[in-house]
C-alpha cells in the first residue's frame, strides 16, 4: 500500500521535475557550458568582459539604478499601502488606479514614457504651449544621458511600485488589530505604532518585496533598451546585446552568469540581515 502511494506521489511530482529539468536545469547547465567555452581557456569570456572597459560602467549603472529604484519603490509602495489600508470610502477605486501599471509590460511602459518625454512629446508640447520654453527639451540620447537616466528611474518606479504596494498591502492585512488597540491604550503616537508594531510585523513582506524587486531590477533592460539603447548599458542589456546583435552566445552566457552571481549575493545579504526574528530569539 505504502509502495503504491509512493509511486503515485512520484508520478504526481514528475511534471514538476520535467518542468524543472527542461526549463531550469538544462538552460542553466547549457549557459554554464557556453560561458566557460572558449578556445583560449575556460575563463577567457569573463576576462574579455572584465577587461573590456564597458563592464564596470555596466555594473555601476545596474547597481545605481537598482540602488535608487528599489528603495524608492519600497518607500512609495509602503506609503500607498498604509494609505489604502485606512479603508476610507472609495479606497477600492484608489487601489485599482494604483494597480493599473501592473498590467503593463516594460515595453509598453517605456513607449508611454517616450511619448511623454520625446522632443515632440506631451511634456514639451505642454511647456511650449504655456510659453515656458521656446524649443523642445531633449531627454534622450548620449549627450543627455543624465536626463534619460532619470526618465528611466521615473518609468521603473511608476511601472513596478504597484507590485511592492500589493505585497505590502497583503502584509498589512495580517497585522492583528489587537496590537494596535493595545498600543492606543498605552498612548502610542501613530509614528510609534508604525515603527514599533507595523513595520516589525511587516518585515517578512518587506523582505519578499525587496527580494523580488531587486532580482527584477537586475534583469531590467526593456525600459532602458527603448529609452537609451546602449547609451546607459546595464548587465541584462549587455547579455541581450551580445546574443542578438553580436551573435556571441558565449559572452552573453557569461553576462547571464554574472547577473545570477550578483543577484544571489544580494539575496543572501537580504535574507541574512533582514531575516525576521522570532519573539523567542528577541527575548534571548
Amino acid at each position: 500500500m505504502i509502495h503504491h502511494k509512493g509511486k503515485i506521489a512520484l508520478m504526481l511530482l514528475l511534471p514538476t521535475f520535467a518542468y524543472l529539468i527542461v526549463f531550469i536545469f538544462y538552460p542553466l547547465v547549457d549557459t554554464c557550458l557556453l560561458a566557460f567555452s572558449n578556445p583560449a581557456g575556460p575563463l577567457e569570456n569573463f576576462r574579455r568582459i572584465i577587461t573590456s572597459g564597458e563592464f564596470w560602467k555596466t555594473l555601476r549603472n545596474t547597481l545605481v539604478i537598482t540602488g535608487i529604484v528599489v528603495p524608492l519603490q519600497l518607500i512609495l509602495g509602503l506609503a500607498l499601502a498604509l494609505f489604502v489600508n485606512l479603508r476610507f470610502k472609495g479606497y477600492l477605486f484608489i487601489l485599482y488606479i494604483i494597480a493599473i501599471p501592473l498590467a503593463l509590460s516594460d515595453v509598453s511602459a517605456a513607449l508611454m514614457s517616450y511619448s511623454i518625454f520625446a522632443s515632440t512629446g506631451f511634456l514639451n508640447k505642454l511647456l511650449m504651449a504655456w510659453g515656458w520654453i521656446e524649443r523642445p527639451l531633449y531627454f534622450f540620447g548620449f549627450r543627455f544621458q543624465d536626463r534619460a537616466f532619470w526618465v528611466i528611474v521615473i518609468t521603473e518606479v511608476w511601472r513596478a511600485t504597484p507590485l511592492v504596494f500589493i505585497i505590502l498591502l497583503a502584509g498589512l492585512q495580517a497585522v492583528n488589530k489587537e496590537y494596535l488597540e493595545a498600543a492606543n491604550v498605552f498612548g502610542f503616537s501613530p509614528w510609534q505604532k508604525l515603527w514599533k508594531i507595523v513595520l516589525p510585523i511587516l518585515r517578512p513582506s518587506i523582505l519578499s518585496a525587496l527580494l523580488i524587486r531587486t532580482i527584477f531590477a537586475f534583469q531590467v533592460f526593456g525600459v532602458i533598451w527603448i529609452l537609451a539603447g546602449r547609451d546607459i548599458p546595464v548587465l541584462a542589456g549587455e547579455a541581450y546585446y551580445w546574443q542578438t546583435v553580436v551573435y556571441n552566445s558565449n559572452i552573453s552566457s557569461a553576462y547571464g552568469l554574472i547577473i545570477a552571481v550578483v543577484t544571489i549575493l544580494i539575496s543572501w545579504a537580504y535574507i541574512t540581515f533582514l531575516k525576521p526574528k522570532s519573539f523567542e530569539e528577541e527575548a534571548v
Partner: protein, 424 residues
C-alpha cells in the same frame, strides 16, 4: 529509406530533363509567404503564357553549390536556372560552374548599368540582374524649405553630383540655424541598422572601401565629417530602430534607413515623406545593395526555356508585381514606368536613381557568417568613441583596425565590393 528517396529524386529529375521541365534552383523566396507567392502566382502565370513547365527548388547556397558541383562532375546537369545573391554567383563563377550568358540580351529593357557591371567577372557574364533591396534617405518635404545655396530639390531626388555629404552637412546646419532643431536622424539604437551606414555608405564614399582602408587618412577625414554632422543629428537617434516612426512624429526631417523600414511613413503620405538617393562622398556614392541574379549553370539543360523564364522574371510588369508582393525593388529602368503613382513608385524611383547614378559605388555586405555581428560592433564602437566620447580619431582607428581585419580574416570571407575593386 534514404536510398529510396535519393533514387526517387534522381529519377524525377531525370524524367524532368527528359520531358523538358525546367528546374529552377533558388536561394531566394524561401519564407512561406514569398514561396507561396512565387509558386502560387508568379510561376503559374508564366506556365500559362509559355506552356513551359517549371519545378521550383528552394535550396540554400551550400546545398545548391554541392549539387551543382556533383552534377557537373558526373556530366549530368539537371539544374536549368539558378537564382542567388551576387556574392554567391561570384564564388560559383570562380569555380567555373556558370555559363557565360553575355549573349542573353533583351531589347525592350535597360538593366541598371551598375548592376550590369557587377554581373560580370572571371571573364564571363555570370548572371542577369533580377532583384534588389537597399537603404535610402527619406526626407520630410518641410526640409526642402531650408536647402542650402546651390542645392535643389531636383538634385536631391535625382542624386546629381551636387547631392554630396558636404551638401547634407550644409543643409542640416541650415535647418538647425533657422529652427534651432537638429533634424537629421539615424537608426542608432542597437536594433537599428546604423552600422550599415558606417561600413556600407560612409566608408566607401570617403575611402573607396568598406574596411580595407579602415584607418587611412581618408577615414580620418570621414570621421571628422561625421563628428561635424552629428552636431545637427537629433539626440533621440540613439533610441530609434525604424526611421518611419520619428519621421511621422516630426522628430527628424532627413533620415536614412533600409527600404523595408521606411514604407510606413512613405505609405502614410508619399507627398510629405519623400525617398531620395543617398549623397555622394569624395570617392563616389557608396550604397549597400542586396543584388539577386539569374544564372545558367554550365552545361545546363533546357536553355531556351530558362531564357524565357529570365525574360519573364525581369520584365517590367513582373518586376512591379514582385515589388508589390515582396518588397524587392526592380533592376530595370522601365519598371518605373509601369508602377502607378503612389508610395511604391516614389520608393522605386529613389532606389533606381541611387543605383543608376553615374558615381554609384555598390557595397555588398561582406559574407562574414557568425562573425558579422562582431564586425559591425567594431564600427559602432569607433562611432561611439569618436563622435560621442570625443576620443582622438587616429588613436581609435589604429586601435580598432587590427580587430576588424582579424575578424574578416577569421571569417574566411572573400573581399566584397567595393574593396575588391581597389586591388584590380
Amino acid at each position: 529509406m534514404k536510398r529510396t528517396l535519393l533514387f526517387g529524386l534522381c529519377l524525377s529529375l531525370l524524367l524532368a530533363v527528359a520531358f523538358g521541365q525546367l528546374n529552377f534552383v533558388s536561394t531566394q523566396f524561401h519564407p512561406a509567404t514569398e514561396r507561396e507567392y512565387f509558386e502560387g502566382s508568379l510561376l503559374p502565370d508564366f506556365v500559362k503564357l509559355t506552356n513551359v513547365k517549371v519545378q521550383f527548388l528552394p535550396l540554400t547556397y551550400e546545398e545548391a553549390s554541392v549539387r551543382l558541383r556533383a552534377e557537373q562532375a558526373a556530366n549530368r546537369v539537371t539544374i536549368g536556372l539558378f537564382a542567388e545573391l551576387q556574392g554567391g554567383m561570384e564564388l560559383m563563377a570562380s569555380g567555373g560552374l556558370l555559363k557565360d550568358i553575355s549573349g542573353v540580351t533583351f531589347s525592350d529593357r535597360t538593366f541598371i548599368s551598375t548592376f550590369e557591371k557587377y554581373a560580370h567577372g572571371y571573364g564571363i557574364k555570370q548572371f542577369v540582374p533580377w532583384l534588389q533591396a537597399t537603404f535610402v534617405m527619406v526626407i520630410n518635404k518641410k526640409a526642402f524649405d531650408y536647402l542650402p545655396k546651390g542645392l535643389t530639390k531636383e538634385d536631391v531626388l535625382k542624386g546629381t553630383s551636387k547631392w554630396t555629404y558636404q551638401a547634407l552637412l550644409e543643409w542640416a546646419k541650415n535647418i538647425y540655424d533657422k529652427t534651432k532643431m537638429p533634424m537629421v536622424g539615424f537608426p542608432e539604437n542597437p536594433q537599428g541598422l546604423f552600422h550599415r551606414f558606417l561600413h556600407g555608405y560612409l566608408y566607401p564614399s570617403f575611402t573607396g572601401g568598406q574596411f580595407v582602408k579602415f584607418d587611412s587618412l581618408d577615414a580620418v577625414d570621414m570621421w571628422a565629417y561625421l563628428k561635424e554632422l552629428f552636431k545637427y543629428v537629433s539626440p533621440g537617434s540613439s533610441t530609434w530602430s525604424f526611421m518611419s516612426e520619428p519621421l511621422m512624429r516630426n522628430e527628424a526631417w532627413i533620415v536614412w534607413d533600409h527600404t523595408a523600414r521606411i514604407p510606413a511613413a512613405v505609405r502614410a503620405d508619399p507627398e510629405q515623406y519623400i525617398p531620395a538617393p543617398v549623397p555622394a562622398g569624395p570617392k563616389g556614392r557608396g550604397f549597400i545593395t542586396v543584388l539577386v541574379g539569374l544564372a545558367l549553370p554550365k552545361n545546363a539543360p533546357n536553355e531556351a526555356e530558362a531564357v524565357r523564364l529570365i525574360d519573364y522574371l525581369t520584365s517590367a510588369t513582373t518586376q512591379f508585381d514582385i515589388l508589390e508582393k515582396t518588397g524587392f525593388f526592380p533592376v530595370i529602368e522601365e519598371a518605373i514606368g509601369v508602377i502607378p503613382a503612389g508610395p511604391n513608385k516614389v520608393l522605386a524611383e529613389a532606389v533606381v536613381a541611387q543605383a543608376g547614378a553615374p558615381d554609384a559605388m555598390v557595397s555588398f555586405i561582406p559574407g562574414l557568417g557568425p562573425k558579422g555581428g562582431e564586425f559591425t560592433a567594431y564600427y559602432r564602437e569607433a562611432f561611439r568613441r569618436i563622435v560621442y566620447e570625443n576620443e582622438d580619431i587616429k588613436k581609435v582607428l589604429q586601435d580598432i583596425a587590427p580587430k576588424v581585419y582579424q575578424t574578416v580574416k577569421e571569417s574566411g570571407a572573400t573581399l566584397p565590393q567595393p574593396d575588391a575593386s581597389l586591388f584590380h
